[in-house]
Point group: D2
């Protein structure tokens, strides 16, 4: 059973929580905690060795903890995700493979593309694919997206190289539920064509960043990021190609962390309890 807690910090929280668990005969398998001393915030993730009793435990913990505590015991175990794509295959293919072999930690409900390019790979894995063309009518486009995603339900929307900017009207409905992979080490090279920007600036490393989507473009809380070395010998096209490997790896890592209930958000930042 997984327990995640986010609340105001106060002296004795670890003792109070671990005492409650001991009295209720839960054995702690693993425990990670973090305190932000500036903000007086407490974060904790626990794994305990009993599988039942979730409802009562949640109530007991809420009673025990400071007012306003967010406590989840056994957060949705088999989560649902929906993937949005454009034409590039690498992130989607990685997700489909993990989904097929049951190592993703979520079930892919469907894939939506604003091009038909990736339709066949979805068909091969028996995953429904919807082509929704993104014309000039953004409101209409997003309404179509919403119709599809509501039909399935989901815990997270994954933008796996989806090359359209979603409007605030869309984003505000799904706070901290939309995860994007951006092809630069943010905050460097936000916005369009990050590899071209990187090429022109002559950087010696290129990177990728997985982050939650907020209404500020490429400004949402960062979940994971990574870089690889670069040098003068790489053209923009070479960077694009090399970058795909790292985009795939960073998105995979971010999804694993999120789906494992290891990511907490506050003040436009994340706490990742690994």
């Amino acid at each position: 059973m997984i327990i995640v807690i986010q609340c105001t910090d106060r002296v004795g929280l670890v003792a109070a929580i671990s005492g409650l668990l001991a009295r209720q005969n839960y054995n702690i398998v693993s425990m990670q905690e973090h305190v932000d001393n500036n903000e007086k915030l407490f974060f904790m993730r626990l794994e305990v060795d009993k599988a039942n009793g979730a409802t009562e435990l949640e109530e007991l913990l809420v009673d025990l903890l400071p007012y306003g505590a967010v406590v989840k015991v056994n957060p949705v175990a088999q989560k649902k995700i929906i993937v949005l794509v454009t034409k590039e295959y690498h992130c989607l293919a990685d997700i489909l493979i993990r989904n097929y072999f049951n190592t993703l930690g979520a079930a892919v409900q469907c894939v939506i593309g604003n091009h038909a390019t990736l339709s066949d790979i979805c068909r091969r894995f028996d995953i429904p694919f919807y082509e929704v063309q993104a014309g000039n009518d953004k409101a209409g486009f997003e309404e179509k997206l919403i119709n599809i995603i509501q039909q399935y339900g989901f815990d997270y929307l994954v933008l796996a190289k989806f090359m359209r900017i979603l409007s605030p009207d869309f984003v505000w409905r799904f706070p901290m539920q939309i995860i994007n992979i951006h092809h630069s080490f943010l905050p460097a090279f936000a916005g369009a064509s990050p590899y071209r920007q990187a090429y022109e600036r002559g950087v010696k490393l290129i990177g990728a960043t997985a982050h939650y989507v907020t209404n500020e473009l490429d400004e949402g809380p960062i979940i994971a990021q990574q870089i690889i070395p670069a040098n003068h010998s790489l053209t923009v096209e070479d960077m694009v190609k090399a970058g795909k490997e790292i985009e795939t790896a960073v998105l995979a890592k971010a999804l694993k962390l999120v789906l494992d209930d290891r990511v907490f958000v506050y003040k436009n930042k994340t706490v990742v309890l690994e």
Copy 2:
């Protein structure tokens, strides 16, 4: 105040320890723990915000914990180290610099070399340097070492590119107190000339390993290790040169971890609570 605990694991240890600290009005600033479930061993490192009361707390904790628990409250704060060298300067110079600027976390008592090469750099930092030539009389050589180090006292002996093998007779006296930097990613290329071995094997990475010295050559518990990429263009000499940077970094990191009381040893392995 730092608290380190190593004991048999049992249900409720975290609750018991954190409960005791709460009752005694200690606030936990940071806490890391690890359980080896195979061996049923529990490891914990805590920082609490009071500076006094160490003796009583140690007694209270020993009473609380399973029989045989090793508890240290406020382990030696300003530790003493003695450095053994041969001719290469890089690790020693890094230690001398950190010592001089008070960022080492220990006080260098003296340096012993089996060559005089590094005498002048020690003099420049007002650190006593002893040349002890290592001839054919190993027992005599080690007796001289022991005479010097006992004169100063020390918490750790650091072999900073000391190119002699110490005899079991020497090593057994200082269990987990001798730290060596070996110039390969152990267990690959133990023994002599690791860079030549690496060159001949044609590896694509070279590394360095800091470990405690035991009576099995290069087989002691590993504290830290790191690698850098290598390729066909490097000669043995190039590898030696490139390796110096990483040897310096790995030894510095290992010393920081050890001097910060973050390293626990069992079954010829380490638990490093960062």
Copy 3:
């Protein structure tokens, strides 16, 4: 057009080769060379901007270069590979995906497994899958393998987590044509259960190595290798899981290098001209 050259070194080789190309009106797009000064060996890889005239150029170069030079102009462009697997999917799936999207640099002819586990994923990509059970009759098993692979033809056999050791009788037929991914940073932890070995030794990094297969187990020329950090918190199972990501990445990189004609072999080592 790609040109690869391996020969005895002598003064003026670069001038001779680049002079010949200039007289023949080839423009050099990229050129990498390496000289092993101990062995007096010269290695070069060139890309030139004409697509025809390969046969004549090869003859001209052989005439120009020291006796015994190996020269290949336009080495097989669309190479064929055959993949051998057991039960683990990660390396195979990565290869199938790249094959399907035409980014592998080779065409997968078929997959052979000594278990049926990975049959369905091959079927989904329309790649023939053969189950050949490896019982006690190794000679018979390898004869069946040879029957299948000869039916297709291939440039490289890829052991993508194929957990059987091929006999010298099999290996000698395909020198530098069999590529294996081993789940450790060789030469550390050769042979069986490298992650268990790594766990027991308590290393602080785990790795993967892609190498050519020779008759010495895990001793063939190394093509690529990489590591990720590890620590005490990882069980053997965690290492296995974390290792899969790096095994996939290292094998993909090695295949790219080999299929791109960037890997030269001599003295049980590789020169990789990137």
Copy 4:
């Protein structure tokens, strides 16, 4: 003997250069070249095995190459550097150590600080130290700097955590001769307090960048950069501390590349021929 060439690209340059060297009986020990196909620029670095004849060879090469070629044969071998600092010791100490052990590739002439903090460490290495306080009179301050540096002469000015911005009036006099270490992975977090910016943005990696100083703050050509992982557990102060290690390493690497005549500059970017 080192030869560096930067010129307009045209067909046959490699053949022409290597042919000339062969006719003059120079043996090529190593050769790296790069062509920027967009800009039609050619860059080459050679090591040849004769030590004399530099002047004639330079003339022969200039005659041979396209108009406007920059050719340097045996660029200044023992270069001079002057180091500017404020209070942080780590980069300076690393430079002083390498200087003392003759592995820097340059001779430190003197150190100038706008605080006296680092005076004693310079004294210990017999390196002249000048304290020049930076008050409100920037022009006066820079005039004092210029007086000191002109007294010594130098090839490069190294800003080793010098926390003042030099005016355009100062910078334009020393184009591509001033090297700075900035404590972020540029272009992210240019300007003041990059670690605070990094902390507030919640990035998962922090970095350092060595670059030439131009009149655009932190916008000059990047020579080397590197990152280390970061996470929520690091305070700003922790980042500052962890960052020092990487700042030291990146500046050391950049200096080695520059002093080894491996860095070429064009279009606000560098080509680094390693």
